[in-house]
Amino acid sequence: MTEVIRVFSARKIITLNNYCPRATHVAVRGTRVLGVGALEDLTGWGNYELDSRFADNVLMPGFVEGHGHTSEGQYWQHSYIGFYDRRDPDGRLWPGLKSIDACVDRLRLAEAELHESEQTLCAWGFDPIFFGDERMSVKHLDRVSAERPVLVMHASGHIINVNSEILRRAGFDRTTNITGVNKDSYGEPTGELQELAPQYRAQRVAGDPLTSVMSKAVLQSFAQAAVNAGVTTSTDLYAEVDDTSIEHYQAATKAEDFPLRLVPAMNALSLSVEDGIRRLDEIKQLNHDKLHFGICKLMTDGSIQGFTGRLKWPGYYNGRPNGIWHTPPETFMDMVDKFHAAGVHLHIHTNGDEASHLALDAIENALTNTPRSDHRHTLQHCQMADESQFRRMKALGTCVNLFANHLYYWGDQHVAHTMGLDRARRMDAVGTAVRLGVPVAIHSDVPVTPLAPLFTAWCAVNRRTASGKLLGADERVSVAEALAAITGGPAYSLHLDHLVGSIEPGKFADFAVLEDDPETVAPDALKDIAVWGTVLGGLAQRAASDT
């Protein structure tokens, strides 16, 4: 064996392993860790090269994003007009926009850059909740362009705004009386469109600019975003598994310098259950170090902030009717039963507590029919589960991946509109999961919220909304528990904890390279720790920056 041994030195290495929690050196051979500790503990492996470029940095296990979407790479082809600052994969910081007029200004600049007159200008990340009574309308978007179609996606994912050109092409006018074509007090469409039919029509006449197109370039862009955030393993949690998509995944991940391990989850509805089981077996044969097929994603309901989550009594705080089942419950139970019996690993989107109740019923039913050890089926988001549901998760051997970022990005809205104070205080109950011993992870659901695990950990530790309100003091967890929830926790939920999630012999040499020490900064400053980049399989990857 003539592979070179490299020893990285660092200010500190937080290993998250069970025998040597802190170290100063890590030995790497090939793509894996040989050992970690003090330099003299590692020299026994043989001649080595010392790599001291990280001598002033803090290393951690590379972060694992257990619920993300590579479509982040596609979104950045369009204009970001959200309220919060956000960094694109190239490292450029896009300041948050604090008024609708500021959104118009940014879009006017973007419009000037477009050369093709027919191309629709798209924007994303807009959230009217920050602008009080003022709603975005054609009045604003017509200032961006009167001729070119302009389409804005809201952060909630359920509303779009269009300009007059799209209204005209779609045939929406004062005589249109369709649910979702919102009108002003004069009876004229405002350009705000909700519901399937109006949005479908609008997108159609605008040339379907938002059709998701996964490509090698999209994956590379996403991988760069991961490096910027210290992430070395990420899910793509609603993947198509047709031949073309598989080719893109392979082409991207086979590149030696592709800086990310991808875990695409097959969309359970893309094929019949029987065909899906067969397809999973086929594509698992293609797995390699940076590509891990095998998990399968199902959905029960929609989203709470979009009022499409399925809630138990007393329902939505503001009286809105209950949300929408993604699949009929009976069909869902049957699908879980069949996938589980075939040995498939399931990740189940459930936002409302009625939805997570169904998910638990389905897993319980499947286990009764087919006992199976160590299944690690994971409830994703699971935002409104109460303690009784966490106890069921524990009893059933289920993992949970909680949407801690919601506490910051939508916490105030949950208090005021969707759940009310009580349920908001117990939402995304990382503390309860830890206390009851339910294997727990936390996530960003990028691009719904930005990919930044240290920020997500900060949310779990501090539980503060954007306005600074503390939601549920007793559900806060320690920094150590939060760091576990962005490394070993998600690794475990993906059946990859033997490969990633801690720094120890046999696992991949995947590190997050930080400028500061998460164990010693003030817990409130966890989100401000700068990321130098990552190391993936021993290969260093620098975060992109706009300097």
Binding site: A170, G171, F172, T176, I178, T179, G180, E195, L196, A197, P198, Y200, R201, R204, D208, N267, L269, S270, L271, S272, D275, P321, N322, I324, W325, T327, P328, P329, E330, T331, E354, L358
Partner: protein
């Protein structure tokens, strides 16, 4: 090209949607259906009828096509619209937890389609249980409320009294929406989809029984009653609207091209499915006068005593 009718079929699991959709796909009347379904697996299509298939689409030798929408409806719909000239009718299966009223809106906005109604299949023996189910009760009730026509299937599985109770319960929820009873989803396609109305000519028809063979062992009788009305002069608009609003509940569907006294140069298209009616101005055509077709259940008495018939010169039973 004339807009293609677009019908949404809702109803809970087991209510009979698949049986009905099977009939559409395997019929040999020459009508080319594009059918969007949740799950191919439930369909029973003879291999001999299949011209080609992929994981998302099955094309049949009779010109029909079936697409799966389990993974998202818009992609299949876009494909159908791209080939809309190949089809006479688009039928969408709405799952038991979908909102058919929102799906039919697509046809109201798309110029190549015309909204042909929301038909909800009802399992007469189980619907009340489904309506109070902890998980889906609210959705079941919403679907019943949003229907233009209720097909009360498996009617013979209940006694006469039992069926009357269920009908009353359905009536209380849906408020006057027409209901048609059947077994094995054997309701006539004229009632459910308005097939004679969908034809380009509004022509004379007689009341009759048509026999369909579902399989070697089962022959099905479909029953409906149609009348056609003609007039060579223009109609009084408010009298027409009043008479159309007072049609008996046994009239399920109707379609006509009418001219009004106050607007002699204009041609208006009147359409009815269940309680929903629309009246819209259409482009001038060569035909003169007004003509109308009504389709109802066998209980429909036809021209006899019909207020609307009195406004026309001719009423053909």
């Amino acid at each position: 090209m004339k807009p293609v009718p677009f019908t949404v079929i809702g109803g809970f699991l087991g209510a009979g949607k698949t049986t009905l959709l099977n009939r559409l796909l395997t019929q040999s009347s020459g009508l080319r259906y594009a059918v969007l379904v949740n799950d191919f697996g439930c369909l029973e299509i003879d291999a001999a009828l299949v011209r080609s298939r992929s994981s998302e689409t099955i094309s049949l030798v009779n010109g029909c096509m079936c697409c799966t929408i389990a993974d998202g409806f818009t992609r299949a719909l876009t494909d159908v619209l791209a080939r809309i000239d190949d089809f006479d009718h688009v039928v969408v299966e709405a799952s038991g937890v979908a909102q058919p009223s929102r799906i039919i809106d697509i046809a109201k906005l798309e110029p190549e389609l015309h909204a042909n109604g929301v038909v909800v299949m009802v399992d007469s023996a189980l619907v009340r249980e489904h309506g109070s189910d902890a998980y889906v009760g609210d959705v079941v009730i919403d679907q019943l409320k949003g229907a233009d026509l209720l097909v009360v299937n498996k009617a013979s599985s209940l006694s006469t009294e039992g069926l009357a109770v269920v009908s009353r319960w359905l009536g209380g929820i849906s408020g006057g929406t027409p209901m048609v009873e059947c077994d094995y989803a054997d309701v006539s396609l004229e009632l459910v989809l308005g097939e004679s109305c969908a034809r380009s000519d509004v022509r004379r028809a007689k009341s009759y029984m048509s026999r369909e063979r579902l399989s070697d062992n089962i022959a099905v009788e479909s029953a409906f009653r149609t009348i056609s009305l003609e007039s060579t002069v223009c109609l009084d608009r408010s009298e027409f609207l009043a008479a159309a609003a007072s049609l008996p509940s046994s009239v399920i569907r109707g379609k006509g091209l009418v001219r009004f006294e106050t607007t002699p140069g204009e041609l208006w298209l009147w359409q009815k499915v269940g309680l929903a009616t629309t009246l819209s101005a259409v482009e001038e055509s060569a035909a003169a006068g007004s003509r109308l077709v009504l389709i109802g259940t066998p209980e429909f008495a036809g021209c006899e005593g019909l207020e609307l018939a009195e406004l026309f010169h001719d009423c053909d039973n």
